[in-house]
C-alpha cells in the first residue's frame, strides 16, 4: 500500500518542528499565497402593518400546535408589500441614502453569493464538500439588524451564518475561499462554512453548536460594560436554538444585570425537519421571556424596515444602559436545513421535502424579502430602479471574482493541521506519526 500524499518521514518532520518533545516551536509549514501571521492567530408599534392573510401577526402564532402539518406555514404569510407608511417606514426612510444602498447591496450580495454557491454544490464540478446551511429567504433579519449596528458592535452567529457575515461587512473573497477550504479563506481552511469568523468586523463567528450564540454575545456585551464603551452585542439564533438552556440563562441574567445584549430569534417554522409548532408551547418564541420585563418585538422577518425599526429601538435601549431586548422575526428558509436536497442549479428553492409542502415554499418565495425591499425603496422614491440594477450587476461581478479567487487559491498545507490548536506551539506530530515502540520492562 502506498503512502498517502503529503506523508513525510519522521526525520523530516522532526526537523520541521524542531524537537520531538511534547510540543515544538511553530514553524509555518505552509507555502502560502496570502501574507499571514500564524501566531496572531415586535411590539405592534414597530410592526409595519397588519398581515393580509388568514392570520394577523401576533394574534395567533404557530406554536403550541401538536397537529401541525406540512403546508401550515402558508397560514402565516406576510403581505405582498412592505407598508410605505407607519413608524417602521418613517424610521427606515430617514436613513441616509448611502446607508439604504449599503443595506440593499448586502441583502443582494447575501442572496446572490449563497445562490452561486448552491449552484456550485449542485453542479459538483468544483468538488465542494462540507456542511452548507443557506440563509436564502431570511436576509431581511440580518440586514435589518445590521443596519442598526455600528461597525464596532458585536454579533454572534449560527450554523446558518453566511447572511449575518455578509450583512456585517464580511469579505466575499475570503468567504468563498473558506467554502473551498483554501488557505486564503477566513479560517485558512480549518473551519468552513459553519465557523467563519472576522473579529475585526465584530463578527464572533458562525458556530456549529446550536444555542452557543447567547453566551458569546452576552460575554462581549459584558466586556463592553467592563471597558466602559457603549458597544452592544447581538446573538442570532433560530427557533430550534431558543430551546437551549443557554438561551434562557443568557436572557435572564442579561435582564438582571442590564447587559447590552440583543437576542434575535429567526423563526423559520422548523428546526431541521421538526416543526417549531410541536416543540414550542407558546404562540411565539418571544412569549417565553416576557415575564422578565424587558422589551420584546415580534416582527415580519421578511420586512427589513420592521426588523430595522425594532433593532434600532433595542440598540438605543441597550446603549442607554437599560439592558437587553428580544426580537423575533417570522421568516422562511427556501432550502433544506443543510445541503441541497430538492434543489436544482439555476432554480430557486428546494422542493419535495417531506416536512413541508411545495405550495407553502412557493407562497413564501413570493414574499421574497429582497424584492419587497426593492419595491419599497422605489415606491418611496428613495432610489431609482437603475441605481439598484447597477448595484446588482456590480455585486454579481464581485461574487464571480470571489469564486475565481477561491479557485486560484492554494489548499492549506496538510501539515498545518498541527498548528493553531495552541497559541505558540504546534501539537507534536509524534502523536500520530510513529515513534519507536516503547518497551515497558518489569
Amino acid at each position: 500500500m502506498s503512502r498517502p500524499n503529503g506523508m513525510i518521514d519522521r526525520r523530516t518532520l522532526l526537523t520541521m518542528f524542531g524537537t520531538a518533545g511534547a510540543t515544538a516551536a511553530v514553524v509555518s509549514a505552509c507555502g502560502t499565497s496570502l501574507k499571514r501571521d500564524l501566531n496572531a492567530e415586535l411590539s405592534a408599534g414597530v410592526t409595519g402593518g397588519k398581515w393580509d392573510k388568514a392570520v394577523p401577526l401576533g394574534s395567533q402564532g404557530p406554536g403550541g400546535n401538536p397537529n401541525w402539518r406540512p403546508g401550515d406555514a402558508a397560514k402565516f404569510l406576510p403581505p405582498e408589500k412592505i407598508p410605505t407608511s407607519g413608524k417602521a417606514a418613517e424610521l427606515m426612510a430617514s436613513l441616509p441614502k448611502e446607508k439604504l444602498l449599503t443595506t440593499y447591496q448586502r441583502m443582494s450580495a447575501s442572496r446572490k453569493w449563497e445562490t452561486a454557491m448552491k449552484d456550485l454544490f449542485v453542479d459538483g464540478k468544483d468538488g465542494l464538500y462540507g456542511a452548507f446551511h443557506t440563509y436564502v429567504g431570511e436576509e431581511a433579519i440580518a440586514n435589518g439588524v445590521m443596519t442598526a449596528l455600528n461597525d464596532d458592535d458585536y454579533i454572534a452567529s449560527t450554523h446558518r451564518g453566511h447572511g449575518h457575515l455578509i450583512a456585517k461587512g464580511g469579505s466575499l473573497d475570503r468567504m468563498s475561499a473558506e467554502i473551498f477550504f483554501k488557505d486564503t479563506g477566513y479560517n485558512k481552511g480549518y473551519g468552513g462554512s459553519m465557523h467563519i469568523m472576522d473579529l475585526s468586523k465584530g463578527i464572533m463567528g458562525a458556530n456549529g453548536i446550536v444555542g452557543s450564540s447567547p453566551y458569546l454575545a452576552a460575554g462581549a456585551a459584558l466586556r463592553a460594560l467592563a471597558r466602559g464603551t457603549t458597544q452592544v452585542a447581538v446573538a442570532f439564533l433560530g427557533d430550534g436554538a431558543a430551546a437551549s438552556p443557554y438561551y434562557f440563562s443568557a436572557v435572564r441574567s442579561s435582564a438582571n444585570h442590564k447587559v447590552p445584549a440583543i437576542f434575535v430569534i429567526e423563526n423559520n417554522f422548523q428546526y431541521m425537519g421538526v416543526p417549531m409548532a410541536t416543540v414550542v408551547p407558546t404562540k411565539y418564541i418571544s412569549d417565553y421571556t416576557k415575564g422578565l420585563g424587558i422589551p420584546h418585538y415580534l416582527v415580519d422577518g421578511n420586512d427589513v424596515t420592521s426588523v430595522y425599526a425594532a433593532a434600532k429601538e433595542a440598540v438605543d435601549f441597550a446603549r442607554a444602559g437599560n439592558g437587553p431586548s428580544v426580537i423575533e422575526g417570522i421568516t422562511y428558509r427556501w432550502y433544506d436545513h443543510s445541503g441541497f436536497a430538492g434543489a436544482k442549479a439555476s432554480v430557486n428553492g428546494a422542493m419535495g421535502l417531506p416536512y413541508r409542502s411545495d405550495e407553502e415554499v412557493r407562497q413564501w418565495m413570493s414574499r421574497d424579502p429582497n424584492v419587497r425591499f426593492k419595491t419599497w425603496l422605489v415606491a418611496k422614491g428613495l432610489v431609482t430602479e437603475s441605481e439598484l440594477a447597477r448595484i446588482e450587476t456590480e455585486t454579481q461581478e464581485a461574487i464571480e471574482r470571489s469564486i475565481a479567487f477561491a479557485r486560484q487559491s492554494q489548499c492549506p498545507d496538510p501539515k498545518a493541521g498541527v498548528l493553531n490548536t495552541h497559541a505558540n506551539v504546534a501539537v507534536a506530530a509524534t502523536q500520530f506519526f510513529n515513534r519507536s515502540g516503547l518497551t515497558i520492562s518489569a
Binding site: 480549518y190 410541536t278 496538510p414 493541521g417 498541527v418 501539537v427 500520530f432
Partner: protein, 327 residues
C-alpha cells in the same frame, strides 16, 4: 436471522425490550425511531408505543432535558433511553456524571439506574470541522464512576449490546458511530439476544502482534489487515466492544502469546482510552512492546488535506505495526 441495516438492528432491540417492559421510555431529539427492512417491513416505534413512551416526532433541541428526564424516569423505576446527537456529548455529560453514575452509591444502594445514553458519535471526515468531527468521548465517560461504556462496531453487536445495555441495572453509555454503519454487515438474529457487557471478541487470530481497536477505528484496521498479512505480520485483532468493564482476560491471553500490543483509535491522544488499555495490560504482562496511534490533540480541521494527514488511517496503522515488529 436476516440482513438488516445497522439502524434497523438497533431499533429492533429497543422495540423488543419496550414490548417486554411496559414502563420503559425512549426519549430523543430529531431522530424519529422509524426503520425499514429491505422486505419493506416498517418498524415505527412512535406508532407502536405512542407519544407518552417516546418523543413522538421529536423533542426540542434541549439535550439537558432529554438526558436529565430519562435519568429521572430511571431513578423512579423505568428503564429509560436518551438518544442525543454527536455534538451534544457535553450537554449530556453533567447529568450522567452527577446523577446517573452516583445515585446508587450516594443512597447506599437504594437506587437502581437502568438508564442508557444512546450517544451519537462523530467521524474524522473532511468538511465538518471541530465541533462535528469529534470521536473518542468514550474516554470521558469511562472516567466517570458508576458508568459503563460500550462501542459496537457492526450490526450484530449493535443489537446485542443495546439489549444488554437496556437489561443492565447500571447506566450504560452506548456509542453510535456513523462510520461503522456503512458497508457489509453480519446477519442479525430476529429475536432479542445479548452481547454480554465486558466481553471482547477476537476478530482475527494471529501470532505476532495484538492489535486492539474499536469503533470507529475498526474501519481503517480492516483496510490495513490484508496488507499486513501480505507483509508477513500475523496480527491478532481484538475488538473490546465494551470499554468499561474492560475484558482484560482476553487482552492478556493474547498479549502473553504475541508479546506486542498496538492500540489504534480515532480519539484524541492525551488520556485516550487506548492509554488505559496499555496501562492495564502492561501491569499484568511486563516486558512487552507497545505502541499507540491516535488522532492528535487538535480539533479535526475542515480541509481534506489536513484531515487526511492527521487521521490514523490504514497506511499509518501498517507503518505502526511494521515498526513495532522491528523493535
Amino acid at each position: 436471522m436476516s440482513k438488516k441495516s445497522y439502524s434497523f438492528a438497533q431499533l429492533e432491540a429497543v422495540a423488543q425490550e419496550m414490548r417486554k417492559n411496559p414502563d420503559m421510555v425512549f426519549f430523543y431529539e430529531y431522530e424519529t425511531p422509524v426503520a425499514t427492512l429491505p422486505t419493506g417491513e416498517i418498524l415505527d416505534l412512535v406508532k407502536e408505543f405512542g407519544t407518552r413512551r417516546t418523543s413522538g416526532r421529536g423533542w426540542a433541541i434541549d439535550e439537558s432535558w432529554i438526558v436529565g428526564t430519562a435519568i429521572g424516569a430511571a431513578t423512579a423505576g423505568s428503564i429509560a433511553i436518551a438518544r442525543v446527537p454527536s455534538m451534544a456529548t457535553i450537554y449530556a455529560i453533567e447529568y450522567v456524571y452527577n446523577q446517573a453514575g452516583k445515585l446508587r452509591s450516594m443512597t447506599g444502594g437504594q437506587v437502581s439506574m437502568p438508564f442508557v445514553l444512546w450517544q451519537g458519535g462523530g467521524s474524522r471526515s473532511k468538511g465538518s470541522a471541530g465541533q462535528h468531527t469529534e470521536v473518542g468521548q468514550e474516554a470521558l465517560y469511562a472516567n466517570l464512576p458508576g458508568i459503563k461504556v460500550v462501542v459496537p462496531s457492526d450490526a450484530y453487536d449493535a443489537k446485542g449490546l443495546m439489549v444488554a445495555a437496556i437489561r443492565d441495572p447500571d447506566p450504560v453509555v452506548y456509542f453510535d458511530y456513523p462510520e461503522v454503519k456503512a458497508g457489509e454487515q453480519p446477519d442479525v438474529p430476529d429475536d432479542a439476544y445479548e452481547v454480554p457487557l465486558g466481553k471482547a471478541i477476537v476478530r482475527q487470530p494471529g501470532r505476532d502482534l495484538t492489535l486492539v481497536a474499536w469503533a470507529p477505528a475498526t474501519v481503517e484496521v480492516k483496510r490495513a489487515l490484508p496488507g499486513l498479512a501480505k507483509a508477513g505480520v500475523s496480527v491478532e485483532y481484538i475488538d473490546p466492544r465494551t470499554l468499561k468493564p474492560l475484558d482484560l482476560d482476553t487482552l492478556v491471553t493474547s498479549v502473553r502469546k504475541t508479546r506486542r500490543l498496538l492500540v489504534v483509535e480515532h480519539g484524541h491522544y492525551t488520556n485516550s482510552f487506548g492509554s488505559h488499555v496499555i496501562s492495564e495490560v502492561v501491569q499484568v504482562v511486563p516486558g512487552i512492546k507497545v505502541k499507540k496511534i491516535a488522532f492528535p490533540d487538535v480539533p479535526g480541521p475542515g480541509a481534506e488535506g489536513m484531515m487526511t494527514w492527521l487521521r490514523p488511517d490504514a497506511p499509518k496503522i501498517m507503518d505502526a505495526a511494521v515498526q513495532l515488529m522491528r523493535v
